[in-house]
Amino acid sequence: MMFAESSPATETRSEGRVRPSTSPKTYRATLAIPTTPEEASNLLTRVERIVDKGRVTNELLLDLARFLGANSAAWTPVNRARLRRALAGFDGTAVVDAIVAMIQSHPRTDILDEAELALRGLAPHSASRMRRLVLEPGLDAGVRVCILRAAARLDTSGSAESVRLALSDPETELRDAAIALLAELALPTGRAWLQQRLDRESSAMVQDAIRDALASFPR
């Protein structure tokens, strides 16, 4: 799978499997960047009409994804929620790929956090696509964590195996996230998995995280 190497800020980007016919060379952002809450609201109203009419394009999807996590007064809590709802109106796989392409270009924590929230708002069947992407070694560890968290919250039982696998991932950040997820989601098998991992874990930081998680687990 290919993901964007160029910044959305440059207005030209490559993309994943959002739509094979969309050329990475020709894609140009079409939505003006809002600077006020009113401009963002107007933009969202237009987008919502487009979604209602079913005239969604992958260019629009990529355009919208770049506003996730924006540090801008335009994106009030209400507008951010509308943006995520608009994204949830798209086809699950296409929107997952577009969001992942965007965060792979900008794996900044605040962007990852809002992307995770957007992914959690998609249809539950999107979780299977997310679980596959968690295994993509070419993705940034922070991006994989974001996708894992979203999949686990969107479809907890269906994603349990992905969380278990992440406990043994070579990336410390993935293991740390998986530990936190097990504690938070209180999966029935979580305690046993954590105990097993503790016996094999080499990182002192991750060992501490496991002990903390075990202490918080319901007995």
Partner: protein, 166 residues
């Protein structure tokens, strides 16, 4: 003394995953960041708690919050820190009142991030339990946005004595 807080994650700054490139990306501005990068200025733990609660409400999860804390006078060596309470967009008004913007160019942001990394700065970690405690202290009606309000209500319901639960 006041500190400016920026949301980040531990893996970027600490341990075997520590990475200069990742640190720079934490301060990379996109074209959608029309106000510059958001930071929050705090002088005490109460204000710090408001920021932690705001981040938890914004991302609607009760996991650890990592915040890089930098002294205001250190940051001002790189550029102007604008107090911009009107540009805070978290669901918690008390945190928005602390909002500041680093409306700097890409090169300045990069230099700032590289220097923080070279100094060995590490984020202050707020555990999941600490995050839960500050969220439970919020008044749901004072939180902005339906989703964030529901998040706070759900969390407070978990902590309520069983006879008070709906």
């Amino acid at each position: 003394m006041s500190y400016l807080l920026r949301r980040t994650r531990r893996a970027v700054w600490v341990g075997g995953t520590r990475s200069r490139d990742a640190a720079v990306r934490e301060f990379e501005r996109t074209d959608a960041d029309t106000d510059g990068l958001s930071v929050f200025e705090v002088e005490n733990d109460e204000q710090r708690s408001a920021v932690v609660a705001a981040i938890a409400c914004e991302r609607q999860r009760m996991s650890r919050v990592d915040l890089l804390e930098v002294e205001r006078d250190v940051i001002e060596r790189y550029g102007v820190v604008q107090n911009t309470p009107d540009k805070g967009t978290t669901p918690v008004p008390a945190a928005n009142a602390l909002h500041c913007s680093l409306d700097w160019d890409a090169e300045t942001l990069r230099r700032f991030a590289e220097d923080l990394f070279a100094e060995g700065r590490a984020p202050r970690e707020h555990s999941a339990a600490a995050v839960r405690a500050v969220v439970r202290r919020l008044d749901p009606d004072g939180v902005l946005g339906d989703e964030a309000q529901a998040f706070v209500r759900a969390e407070r319901a978990k902590s309520a004595p069983s006879h008070e639960k709906p």
